[in-house]
Subunit: 294 residues, 2 copies
Amino acid sequence: MEPQQLRTFVTVARLGSFSEAARELGYTQSAVSQQIAALEADLGTAVLHRRPVGPTGAGERLLEHAGALLLRIDAARADIARLAGAPSARLTVGATPLAVGAELGRALAEVRRAYPVVDLTVRVVAQDVLPAEVATGAVDLALVDGPAAPSDPLPLPDVGPLATVAVAEQPLVVALPAGHPLAGRSGLALADLSAAHWLDAPGLAPTAARLSAATGVEGYRPAARYLGTDVRGLLALVAAGHGLALLPATAPAGVPDVAAVPVRAPRLVHRTELVHGALPEGPAALLARLLTGE
Amino acid sequence: MEPQQLRTFVTVARLGSFSEAARELGYTQSAVSQQIAALEADLGTAVLHRRPVGPTGAGERLLEHAGALLLRIDAARADIARLAGAPSARLTVGATPLAVGAELGRALAEVRRAYPVVDLTVRVVAQDVLPAEVATGAVDLALVDGPAAPSDPLPLPDVGPLATVAVAEQPLVVALPAGHPLAGRSGLALADLSAAHWLDAPGLAPTAARLSAATGVEGYRPAARYLGTDVRGLLALVAAGHGLALLPATAPAGVPDVAAVPVRAPRLVHRTELVHGALPEGPAALLARLLTGE
DNA sequence: GATCATTACGAGCCGCGTAATCATT
DNA sequence: AATGATTACGCGGCTCGTAATGATC
């Protein structure tokens, strides 16, 4: 089970074709066919069926393992490179849309003051891939957020030895249209809203599935899905009555036609964590210190 | 970065010797030396220093990745083999010491009734390695337990696509000597005991570190460590006043000289989860159904 | 019959073992 | 001096590409 074979396997599975995988990987058809044959001989089972080309049952399973494995290999490479390489004058910060706020802005300004020539990039992506981005070195550090029990760490995928530090916790609120019967409340229990329509915005806040896991309450089936990463768009849908959204208190603050009611039960907060690997002294380490308060 | 190189690397690091690693792996010294050289050339850094032989900084880091990587490779192999192989008449159940109880006994009796000739083994090991045992097929399924917020999943290491189902939740109690001032209480808050002496029993209940993470409260520094896996031994130490222990309610029930007071705050329960991979029809699948109540 | 996967075969490379060399205690 | 890691070198096997074959739509 060589990494190269796995890489070829996932490519074939993704593209559904030996030939196209060969093209993408710079092999001949023949080489791809032989790699898959060797992999199957090694495992003693077919992992792909042909015509049409697709993963078998065992192949589906192998895909999950292979993805994690290849990611981890990249992560290990990046980790070592970080330790051995010269301190770079590049700083790439990963963050979820909701994690980009005033604190990060201020901290980055300070970094700029200390390292005037640093090549600064902020990369906004969804929560679930951020740990992988940190592990593989695509970003130096990342701000990840999501709902969690107070003082509970966020459940992040395990892609390597990463440090996570809490940097902020703010109340979690339900965003609802201004005219909603509950809009005037000073607080509410999520259980009261089990029959409500929810907007699922996987690019912004954790998906309903993860929320259910965090709260232990079933039944947050979303009425609609919002695939953007802009909070204002989501809040416009909320205002229009398409459904409710669970957000950190700062997100809907001051938006017209949207009311925000703190969640009282279950006890949840919106937590922001800093995720990073080894940080050699430089702008990245400074930013980490600034964000965590030394 | 071939898996073989990593396996050789971790062996050398563990044994602190190229020659001994060669003996253990069935290579010559030379081959081991060349594999390490190739690995270091690939990574562009030394991962071992020689005389004495030991991991460098980058090597330490690589060790963490390599361990997870090799484990996952074994897990993938075992996973595939399970799917492809013939249904076995062997059933190996993994469990933590505290998870072996009446329910498991009854369920196993029923399995025996349905499969009279099954080769049945119960393997009791510490929590933290159980998921790996399941992933690599050392056990077919496992009962893992530990403290958690109500309805919260246990934080288990991610070693592959494993299914986890809650099978039981019981109150968490503080075990304290009968004469202890708090022994008569009907409930207490852990915060009240922050200054107490704790017994850390990593083989039985999660370590203090994990408990701190679960509760968000710092300062559960253990006064003593108990390395056995027998609850009665631990409770004897509690009775003798060496410290307190956090256990599920059933563990200290009826033990003389030990009082058990339920934990009221933070809201924690002792949760037992069934962990398993793909379960082809057979005794393992039956046991899983019995434990989860269909 | 065209597309695409498999098989046959030869060439090059890689990784191992043997054996000699070098370094450290 | 002896133990143990590295280097030199040749052999065997593995994997690739080319090319022919086979299968499926």
